[in-house]
């Protein structure tokens, strides 16, 4: 099962800072809630893990991240993450193309296009929630990314962003996540014409 997601995050920082941060693979991975890079294999290959906690159950994914390309002219990063949960019942992959562009008023935008594929139990049981769940994960990712970039600047705003970035949850908290999904679902239900 595959969903394609396109997201645009506005960051109150110059695009050069955002591009600089985008090339820090460990830093970017760290913006993904619950994710971390555990090993750098070579220039373009990393090993990583993601933990998801849903109530009392914890699911842990382990996988590989491959940098498919970094294009400085376009300020674009292309990476592929593939992994399987350690219980062997599900697998997932994400093909992500992200780039930075200038925005209005000295701000910039991070644009992400992701194709997320899940297989196994997660697809069978959670398939219908995939779009919403992926959406929520990316929302948290965007917020963390923005905080990290803003923290590279100076002043009170940067300090606040830095402390927010430091506080970000160390695992993907699916309770909060589910709440976001539920709220999103109802907004979608009643908000659209």
């Amino acid at each position: 099962m595959q969903v394609k997601i396109e997201k645009v995050f506005t960051i109150d920082a110059p695009s050069a800072s955002a591009w600089q941060f985008l090339q820090d693979i460990s830093g970017v991975a760290g913006c993904m809630p619950g994710a971390e890079i555990t090993e750098q294999v070579d220039d373009n290959n990393y090993k990583g893990s993601v933990k998801v906690k849903i109530g009392p159950a914890t699911a842990a994914f382990k996988g590989d991240i491959e940098i498919k390309g970094i294009d400085a002219d376009k300020r674009e990063l292309h990476m592929l993450g593939t992994g399987a949960d350690v219980k062997g019942t599900s697998s997932a992959s994400m093909d992500l193309v992200a780039f930075v562009r200038d925005g209005d008023d000295g701000k910039c935008e991070l644009v992400g296009n992701a194709a997320v594929t899940v297989n196994g139990k997660m697809a069978s049981l959670g398939g219908r929630m995939m779009t919403q769940v992926s959406d929520q994960i990316l929302k948290q990712f965007g917020a963390n990314f923005a905080n990290n970039v803003m923290a590279m600047g100076d002043g009170a705003a940067a300090e606040a962003a830095a402390s927010k970035a430091a506080e970000q949850p160390k695992e993907l908290n699916a309770f909060g996540l589910m709440w976001g999904v539920v709220v999103g679902f109802f907004k979608g239900l009643f908000g659209k014409k």
Binding site: T89, S91, N119, S124
Partner: protein
């Protein structure tokens, strides 16, 4: 002298054929005293649980058992490599193919069995399955069977990629299983070329699952000292399982005992042999302790056989007046990753060729191609005879499609084309001999009961008011009671069935059959047959089935075959006993046996009505005073090979009201007339009809096994898979006619499956009938609210 009234009174006391006797098995079920496979507990018993594939198609790069084996309580972890030395990592299927017992180098469907963990405790086994590390290399999966035979399609079965055939004739692609056709292709083509009117419609009998309340499972217990293997198994066919187990394991058949205890519903799901059974048996033989394996609901829905998945294209040719000249059907059958189709050996598409239905169609041709896809194997007959639901669906839908084209009422078109009563026995264009039927009388009774004309008038008035109503008709003929051994066998064993009757000295009876009840009420029905034939009250007759050590060999219960086949054997066995009883009575009364006549429960001397011997008196004498040269005792066994199938039929009409804003269809009325020949227990028949209608409702209106494009199964829990409860179930109105089968010794035809087979097109015709008013010709099942709404939305009907 015995009066008619007095005879009648004695007859009523027997509670025999025709009596709505309460089911003898129910007191134990309603008190929770049933004994199912999962109730079996044995000393030292261990438990198996499967490690299953998350991928629909992948190569297995390695399996690491170490962590699982390290968990305290884990006894063993078995993989294909462990079964290889015994040559049991693959098993033969009923359809002549083979199926992986545990995935051998690759997996070909999601949830496929990869390894079995055996542990001292069910929970430890479940925990340990998550510790078995399997490394996969995912491969592209085939989900849509229409792409299976593409040039660049991935090869699903490398093990048979180059084989010319996989048990069912020549193939033309590595993912092709068989081509099977029947009828006169050229004559049909000519009829279509010459026809004034032709119609053609593609339709899908979607993939569903019988989902019995009890899932599949077994307890295998191998006694090393005596080389005796006992297996409690959820099986609809324990004897054929015994033969298969003996052939596979090398244990002599006399040392294999298969016991089907109480079975919580089968509906075709429990006919096959599944990997769980095989691995449990192997594990018990290897470990020397009893091994229990019970699958959970997700496993049952995901892997343990599916039903249908027939992608059909129906065609009819007719003249302008609506006289049908020819029928043609092309089918693409999705059989999943292994051809584990439930079928009599020579019938790769089952009895699909009954697709000319209740109509006198002079020329016909049907072609079925079976292909592999990356889905679970199966193709079981879900509450129907082999592929009869698919056949009935295509003809009953096509009748409505043709009626639309001719601008003729679908009821009128049916009446015009029904086989006439005087045409029976009727030879169908596709080779069947219909035994008996009176379709006109049955249909007229239903039309009158529902005021068909009034309904059509109401429908037109509602349309004018902006309301949507649909009327569904189904006038179906089934083919059940497989079957004559000249036509049908399973792995070479003819599809006969059997009954053994033993009359005790005090006149009570124990009888055993080769069938096995799963809720059909055999303990009651068979007893009623014997009661009528032998004059012993049915309450004093015990029926025992399902233990291969005691019951005579039979092919089991599916395809509505118990009454047509084992029921006939029961009648014949009883009649053999009655003939012996007549000789004993003649001896006791010192008259010639020709001077005796049978009267309900006794033999009476003709012309001397006070001289009688009751069956009970005769039973006592059978053990102490028999004629010279006669064996003592009163028992016999009969193996019945039916001369033909039976052809029960029915006429159903349903009325649905559709909420145009939500697509919700409410079943306002469902009128079902069934003709199953002689009726043994009308109350049990009604219960069976209720159950069949309910499952038909389920399939037509909601049940579905959907897959995403990668082969992930998206509906394998009861959260998604539709199971109608009393909330959703419509009210059923039942009726009947009686047209006995001329070749069955009692005239009975079988009934449990007709309502499933007949109601699915009835519901579907109703929804389509509603939409046909707005120019639609056909929409596929399941007709859940969302799908109906989508059509209404496309038609712009969901707004005021």
């Amino acid at each position: 002298m015995a009066t008619t009234a007095e005879s009648l009174e004695r007859e009523q006391k027997l509670e025999g054929v025709g009596c709505s006797k309460r089911r003898k098995e129910d007191p134990r079920f309603i008190q929770g005293k049933g004994n199912y496979v999962d109730d079996i507990k044995m000393p030292g018993m261990v438990f198996g649980d499967f490690v299953r594939s998350p991928h629909a198609h992948a190569r297995i790069k390695g399996i690491n058992k170490e962590k699982a084996l390290a968990l305290p309580g884990v006894v063993a972890v078995l993989t294909a490599d462990d079964l290889k030395p015994l040559n049991l990592h693959w098993m033969p299927t009923l359809a002549g193919d083979k199926q992986a017992v545990l995935a051998d180098e690759k997996v070909a469907f999601q949830y496929q069995e990869v390894a079995m963990v055996i542990a001292e405790d069910r929970y430890i086994a479940a925990d340990a399955t998550e510790l078995v590390e399997v490394e996969y290399e995912p491969l592209p999966a085939i989900v849509d069977p229409h792409t299976s035979m593409d040039d660049d399609a991935p090869i699903i079965r490398e093990d048979v990629a180059d084989a010319d055939e996989v048990g069912q004739g020549k193939r033309r692609h590595p993912n092709h299983i068989f081509s099977w056709d029947v009828g006169d292709k050229e004559a049909t083509e000519r009829a279509f070329n010459d026809a004034e009117v032709t119609v053609k419609q593609a339709m899908l009998n979607h993939r569903v699952h019988p989902s019995p309340l009890e899932t599949c499972g077994c307890v295998a217990s191998f006694d090393k000292v005596n080389n005796k293997l006992t297996v409690w198994l959820t099986s609809q066919a324990p004897h054929i399982v015994r033969t298969v187990v003996s052939l596979l394991s090398g244990v002599p058949e006399s040392n294999v005992r298969i016991i089907s205890p109480d079975i919580g519903g089968g509906f075709g799901n429990k006919v096959g042999v599944y990997p769980g059974y095989v691995v449990s048996i192997v594990a018990s033989i290897v470990l020397g302790v009893p091994v229990k394996w019970i699958e959970d609901r997700i496993e049952n829905l995901s892997t343990t056989a599916f039903a249908r998945d027939y992608h059909m294209e129906g065609e009819l040719a007719a003249d302008k007046e609506g006289n049908i000249k020819a029928m043609r059907v092309n089918v693409l059958a999705d059989h999943g990753a292994f051809n584990s189709h439930a079928q009599p050996t020579k019938w790769p598409a089952g009895l699909f060729s009954i697709c000319t239905g209740s109509y006198d169609i002079p020329t016909a041709y049907a072609n079925v191609d079976g292909v592999y896809t990356n889905k679970a194997p199966g193709g079981v007959a879900y509450r129907c005879s082999f592929r009869v639901t698919e056949a009935v669906y295509v003809i009953e839908r096509m009748m409505d499609v043709l009626a639309q084209k001719l601008e003729m009422d679908p009821a009128e078109l049916r009446i015009k084309n029904f086989i006439k009563p005087e045409q029976f026995p009727y030879q169908s264009a596709l080779g069947w001999e219909y035994d008996s039927g009176d379709y006109h009388t049955a249909f007229k009774k239903v039309m009158d009961a529902v005021d068909y004309e009034g309904l059509r008038k109401e429908q037109a008035e509602k349309k004018a008011r902006g309301e949507i109503m649909g009327i569904g008709i189904s006038t179906f003929t089934e083919i059940v009671g497989a079957g004559p051994s000249k036509a049908c066998d399973v792995l070479g064993v003819g599809m006969f069935d059997s009954a053994e009757i033993r009359v005790h000295p005090t006149g009570s009876i124990i009888a055993r059959m080769g069938t096995i009840t799963q809720g059909q009420g055999h303990a009651t029905t068979y007893a009623q047959i014997i009661a009528t034939e032998l004059g012993i009250p049915s309450d004093e007759i015990t029926i025992e089935e399902g233990d291969t050590d005691t019951a005579p060999y039979g092919l089991g219960t599916y395809g509505s075959r118990s009454t047509p086949v084992a029921g006939a054997a029961t009648v014949n066995a009883a009649r053999k006993i009655r003939e012996k009883a007549r000789k004993i009575a003649a001896h006791l009364l010192e008259v010639s046996e020709n001077d005796l006549e049978w009267d309900v429960d006794q033999f009476r001397v003709v012309g001397s009505p006070d001289q009688t011997k009751t069956m009970k008196e005769i039973a006592w004498a059978a053990y102490n005073d028999v004629p010279d040269g006669m064996e003592m005792g009163l028992e016999t066994v009969d193996y019945y090979d039916p001369p033909n199938f039976t052809y029960p039929f029915g006429a159903y009409v349903t009325v649905v009201d559709i909420d145009k804003y939500t697509g919700e269809a409410s079943i306002r009325r469902f009128y079902a007339l069934d003709d199953c020949g002689t009726r043994i227990n009308p109350m049990i028949i009604e219960g069976q009809v209720h159950g069949g209608l309910n499952e038909g409702f389920a399939v037509a209106m909601g049940q579905e096994l959907p897959f995403d494009e990668d082969g992930n199964l998206l509906g394998n829990t009861f959260m998604d898979y539709f199971w109608p409860t009393m909330v959703e179930t419509p009210k059923w109105e039942l009726d009947y006619t009686v047209t006995p089968s001329p070749h069955h010794p009692m005239g009975a035809k079988g009934v449990a499956e007709s309502p499933h087979v007949g109601s699915i097109p009835c519901f579907s015709n109703a929804i389509n009938d509603a939409l046909m008013q707005f120019g639609i010709t056909h929409v596929d099942m399941p007709h859940n609210a969302f799908r109906v709404w989508k059509t209404l939305h496309e038609l712009n009907l969901d707004k005021d």
